[in-house]
Symmetry: C3
């Protein structure tokens, strides 16, 4: 799509060459053929160093753009980004893609659906009612139980097990809201990558990234009914117990243990080898590794135990 067509969609103008734009991306990650956006003054420092070809901005941010970066000035840049995201959304299925490739020794149930463009490795077991989307890639020896959905473009490694009714790569929860309180969908054009030797329970939701990738690293274990928000990164061998979850863009180091019904707010960084007791509510980043926490608000686990004794004494 050309920059000039984007300007028309966003009902704005721009000065500079009318180049071809290949996609949308975050300020930090955008390449010189991508368009980005900024909606929050918190990200002004990222504007100055962006490589994006163009940035959707409110008028007041224009002065921060680096030389050669085109300003697409709009009133509500988050809303405009949402409008534009639809134009970069790939089609769900595409008949023009080549037939799916299925590796040697792999069994695919005749009642599974493998979309065109998908690639499945060797010795996998794909049971009935599984859906593997367009251009999704599955490694070797992976077992996918009935009624799992792997959305388009998602990648699952080798030696993985995905249990029934789990959704890998559904859209992250993203929308802009205008002054009237109406919402506009932000199309989630990223994907999910699950590395090797990962086991995921039943009824789990791992959302695709808005841009880039939601990443589940090697050896992770996810129990049932867990929520992994868009753009999360889950470190090697981390463990999520049932009904726990994480909001978007939170990054966990390796061997983090998340107790049942515990949950992370978004945009946190969690040090490796952290342990969170059941029902912990984590709203701040953890920088020191190897500690154990509990409670909401979160605190040291031993302190939480002490605090409960103190609280109980209020009854006396």
């Amino acid at each position: 799509m050309t920059l000039s067509s984007i300007a028309i969609i966003l009902e704005t103008e721009f000065s500079g060459a009318d180049i071809e734009i290949s996609g949308m991306n975050a300020l930090k990650d955008a390449t010189s053929s991508e368009v980005s956006f900024v909606a929050n003054s918190k990200y002004i420092k990222d504007i100055q160093t962006t490589n994006a070809a163009a940035v959707i901005v409110p008028a007041s941010f224009v002065e921060h753009l680096p030389e050669g970066c085109v300003a697409l000035v709009v009133e509500n840049s988050y809303w405009s980004m949402a409008i534009l995201s639809k134009y970069f959304a790939p089609v769900i299925e595409n008949d023009d893609l080549p037939k799916a490739q299925i590796g040697e020794g792999t069994k695919v149930s005749p009642k599974a659906e493998i979309a065109n463009g998908a690639k499945i490795g060797k010795n996998c077991t794909i049971l009935a009612h599984v859906y593997i989307g367009a251009e999704a890639v599955i490694g070797d020896n992976t077992i996918i139980y009935p009624s799992v959905t792997v959305y388009r473009d998602c990648v699952i490694g080798s030696d993985c097990i995905i249990h029934s009714n789990t959704a890998i790569g559904a859209d992250g929860f993203g929308f802009a809201t205008n002054k009237l309180g109406e919402h506009k969908k932000i199309y989630q054009n990223g994907n999910v990558v699950i590395e090797d030797d990962v086991e995921i329970g039943s009824n789990v939701s791992v959302d695709r990234a808005v841009f880039g990738t939601t990443l589940i690293k090697k050896g992770v274990r996810i129990d049932n009914l867990v929520q992994i928000g868009h753009n999360c990164e889950i470190g090697e061998y981390s463990v999520f117990v049932a009904q726990s979850g994480s909001a978007g863009s939170t990054k966990l180091g390796r061997n983090v243990v998340v107790g049942g019904q515990a949950a992370f707010a978004g945009h946190l960084e969690i040090a490796p080898f952290s342990t969170f007791a059941a029902r912990s509510g984590i709203t701040k980043s953890i920088t020191e590794s190897g500690l154990t926490f509990a409670g909401f608000p979160l605190m040291d686990h031993k302190l939480w135990l002490k605090l409960q004794v103190k609280i109980a004494r209020l009854l006396k």
Copy 2:
């Protein structure tokens, strides 16, 4: 079904004409061809004004019935209602219904199942392993991802997106319990109506109403793993973050924001533009609009923040 056959089922007698009964309904909503029930003295005022043809009641409530309304006197009216509900349950699928109607431009996967009597609008995308039940209605331009189930009689508007493994219209959680502790299912003979421009995440449960409708209004956004109980009403543009939920019959105004893992008790009324922080536990109605809450028990959000500081001081 005639009133006399109902009396036989409930092992009771009645005096009056043996009219044809078309269904069961709540006291307030029952028409003159429907039967209702009352099991709780809290609803005595509703008896006096009901239009129901007949009401299942314990003997002590008979005097409150309006003139012309037939009393079906039983010992345990809730249990008897449960028994009768089964007789009004529609069959799950019905070969006699006409073939499903599919609008122009709509793609239905050959691996989806569209039951007889269903109607799907124009330009929809219905992916593999989707189930659309008997007499369900889907609007235009709606996308339904794999392994979504839409139970019979449910209605989904135009421009909606429903993500994988979500269940729309499963039975609400209703049963009567006798003195022996045994349960009797209350058949959920209502439906779900989802208005236009609604997006629902993966692994969500929206239960059908016992009578009437569970209603999700225009523009609502529901994240993954959310529970919406029977007979809820979710106001326009309201937002449910992942793993939150509501028990039955709670009604939210427009633009209510429900944080992750927050939950409502049943039978509440929530003012528009209310915001609930993650893990709020809401057990009382909210009458003033535009406020922000947190905690369980629920309180003003700022107060909750202060309270956490005070609680932490107990450790000193």
Copy 3:
């Protein structure tokens, strides 16, 4: 599998006859043709009375083994048990098993998948996209809604209703972890048994046992999005409200009521007729029946209400 092949797999030696081993089991339940393991000194008393043919043990536990019981000495017995569990895992599907038996009057959607070796009783309704695994058994008059998965070897009684997208018998959350923080799957070779007259909501996860059975007794009612961990036992007519759950091996008596989002830790015993308010966190066994609890940490429900008043006073 012979004891000598097991010794080779575990890279150890043994003294005694090279008998045929039929399976793995817990110390208490193992028969004289089964192998067991012990990894925790807490279970030393169970070693002394085990009937197991052989036990995987660290060197320090050997002296506790009863006469005639073979010691399979390893460094990390939990890890070794995990390694061995894979060898006893049945194949997921088996073409050599006889075609599924379907009882008279049962309707099976052509879009359901019934694996070889399964048996379904009379007058059942099995809707589209359901999966019934190998050697699973379903009673009479049971309704299974779309996209439910019943894993192999699981048993569902008569007069049950299982709602959409529920997973019965997915693997319990079991793995051993070594000093490097790597995980090794413990294959879950038990099953799930659901007795008669049970209703289970949508998006529920009931995990299969590691050994033996996860048991849901007669008349139980389970709402949506509930987690039942491996080896749990849920007493007759117990009720789980939406988004509640239990970790593994917890045993509930009859008529226990579990409020929304409440959860049990593992390995507890809960007295019959106990009631837990919404969001209770139960970490200790309950021995007295008929009481009502709330909170996390758990306490008497009335006490919890009083405590909330006291806590609120901290603000003054």
